[in-house]
Subunit: 322 residues, 2 copies
């Protein structure tokens, strides 16, 4: 169905596509001029160019520097002591068209991710719609010797993307080694969770998460329709209790309070995922968030020093400064 998923290209066709693309995008010829040269119809040139784009032979990239070098990003950077802040802007109310806002944030986050990741890095990836958006907008770029690991166990939900998807897609786009976590994000009892964690393949992966160079994750709020509830992972009672106990956000299925410290409340003991202290150990911590409903949660994470790099939409950025 999706042409772009077909990696193999008939070898000589690729050369043709590339050179046509260079004539169009590089030399600046019109499609008609190229058609005349190739002795084909203009429609064919249109199709060749589309194919070249779809196959990723032609890549259109936006420089990440400009997304972080502006006054809003600078203010935010200084207010929370961050290394870098990337701002996404759709120039309209992010709440009215959340899908579009998410895609734009995904593109900005993808740019940020490539900006930050370095050769040889061991990278941890969480999941959620925001991280999924990043993975979907990530272009196919080789980054050498990178290992990508899944930070949180898997889970089923029609709303939450299959957790491995984010990790697998990111790994495959940058040609990295991929380590998934073969366990549910949430076990039915604490005892069972403990057994899972001791299982060799799982414990090896959890150990791997303790020595990462970079993590990429998002944050959920603790409203009743938060992902963790929608995915059936936390009950409404548990959420209410957590709210009462002062929890302000959810990272890796774990609650944090207003200061960014972990709250050990149910169902934390049933979770199979990286610890928040594991995240802290990574030198580069990219937090990607979209939407003003995450304001409190994001502020908490930033106060707790859980992020070194932040990627947000402009409305949330402004709210974070006040």
């Amino acid at each position: 169905m999706n042409k772009s998923s077909n990696i193999y290209v008939d070898s000589d066709r690729g050369e043709r596509l590339s050179n046509v693309a260079l004539l169009y995008y590089g030399e600046g010829l019109t499609q008609s001029e190229i058609a005349k040269r190739l002795q084909v119809s203009r429609v064919t040139v249109v199709n060749l160019l589309r194919e070249a784009r779809e196959l990723g032979i032609v890549q259109i990239r936006v420089d990440g520097k400009q997304l972080k070098e502006n006054s809003l990003a600078r203010d935010l950077r200084e207010a929370y002591g961050l290394t870098d802040v990337y701002i996404s802007d759709t120039f309209e109310d992010a709440e009215t068209n959340r899908d579009a806002a998410l895609r734009q944030l995904g593109r900005v986050a993808a740019t940020a991710f490539l900006d930050i990741v370095e050769t040889g890095d061991r990278v941890g990836i969480a999941w959620g719609e925001t991280v999924l958006a990043l993975s979907e907008e990530l272009p196919r770029v080789q980054v050498e010797k990178v290992e990508v690991s899944q930070l949180i166990g898997s889970m089923m939900s029609d709303r939450v993307p299959a957790s491995e998807n984010c990790t697998i897609r990111i790994a495959s786009q940058i040609g990295a080694q991929c380590y998934t976590l073969h366990a549910p994000a949430l076990a039915s009892t604490a005892d069972l969770a403990a057994l899972f964690r001791e299982e060799p393949t799982i414990s090896a992966q959890l150990d791997r998460l303790k020595t990462l160079d970079m993590v990429t994750y998002s944050i959920g709020n603790i409203s009743d329709d938060t992902h963790m509830a929608a995915a059936g992972m936390a009950s409404l009672e548990e959420l209410t209790a957590a709210r009462k106990a002062g929890a302000k956000g959810i990272i890796c299925c774990r609650y944090i309070d207003a200061e960014g410290n972990e709250c050990h409340l149910p169902p934390t003991d049933r979770v199979i995922a990286a610890e928040l202290t594991d995240l802290q150990k990574a030198a580069k911590r990219l937090l990607v968030v979209c939407g003003n409903d995450r304001l409190e949660a994001t502020r908490a994470a930033l106060k707790g020093g859980l992020a070194t790099h932040l990627c947000v939409n402009s409305a949330l950025a402004k709210a974070l400064i006040n």
Copy 2:
């Protein structure tokens, strides 16, 4: 005059340009839709997008893999034992429009160059119209810890580009440290050349050329209108003598015979440039050539193992195989 030479961008404008560019190239909105969102006229959006392209905020790149993965490149690679071959094709007779062919080859060569160069490399750059074409098509991409050195002394000529230009431009585009060679490519006498070579700053640079990781150069033929003659560096008598002695091409102002071995003929002893043995020492040797009049010369260089990577136009590629 040239807006793109102005590196500094009003910081908030850059963010606007980037996000508009993402909406257009990423989200795929039309200019009118973007104009409606930004509450500006469509003409303004056109201008913003043009500005973003001119400033390099939007970069359109063609994947190098496709340029080397085709049957012609494979044949050439196997015939001469090369690591990689990149083919440029303008789909018309390269001789009738040499400028266009050169630009296309420059783009392909720029892609190849970025494909080949690695972090920490010490790179040597020769000069000539072909290498200049490469330098002019090189996008602005940061490559860490690279040193770029000039392989051949400088020279004046209206036809040959100022030799430092190639080196300087390439270094500046990839953010590399740049080492120029502050000497003429040709001294008036052999004794003077020897004095030049002993001059501390020059001898230091020549030493530097003995430990390169990568070299990028082109090759000239030995016709009467070759660059070296046009630049007044070699007399017609010298060229005729060289031809009679079996010289087939000119690299770094030095003659090579049909087997790619150096011919020590005048004015070789007056030349101030890297030795051919210095080129050989570099692990990655990119030869960039355009035009069938270089057929014999290129074949000689390849036979002599002077190149590991080759970048040529398709007509020359076909000729090289027969």
